[in-house]
Symmetry: C2
Subunit: 108 residues, 2 copies
Amino acid sequence: MFFLQSCLLVLLHREPGYGYSLMSGLTEFGFEAGQMDISILYRVLRDLEAAQLVSSAWDENSLGPKRRVYTITAEGEARLNDWMQLLRQRRRHIETLEAAYDTVNKSD
Amino acid sequence: MFFLQSCLLVLLHREPGYGYSLMSGLTEFGFEAGQMDISILYRVLRDLEAAQLVSSAWDENSLGPKRRVYTITAEGEARLNDWMQLLRQRRRHIETLEAAYDTVNKSD
DNA sequence: CAATCTATAGACCGAATGTCAATAGACTAT
DNA sequence: ATAGTCTATTGACATTCGGTCTATAGATTG
């Protein structure tokens, strides 16, 4: 699925971020703390970079270990737009299913 | 995901059905004709039966080859209820993401 | 009785996902 | 200063899932 990918791109659409900051940013979109494995997130970030939807650079002047800071690319913005349209479709399909289920329930 | 599973259970929630009839019933929920492979559907039906969410029996008096007719079980109804709640959550999360994306876009 | 159609079943493969360490540098405290 | 802990990232392995393709088998049709 591309829901996680879309969430990350929306966060990066706002401002650049690194692994852990994006991790905590995800709670906004329904990812419960601890539910999401950080390894998965890093892998998705690498995949997004391989697809040239984001670019990364080491943040030299941050406390602690260096952070790989990700920035969304123009291509990433375009892809995000596509994905948001697909998610809108997906939402409508869920609504249709909900309606169908509720209808049958009412007539019981 | 359990979207396809939920669609099938909603259809069986209405009335019993077999592979091909369920296949055409899916168009209602956004599956375009020919997009969905019938093999996948049969496998999901077998999985649902293995999980005891549906039960099946051969329809002896139908034209052509015998049809395996599926019926939703009580356990299946309960599970469908759970899944519908999860799908409602998922829809809300998509709405949240859409709102976040649109907000940033407006302020550009 | 050969060909075709409907219906179901099974095998295989690759992509996506989850889980679990492993690394490595920076900070903290004794 | 050095052992221990914390932050941040990376990599390896195992499982699950979806997609595709082929096989079977009986029914119908010409």
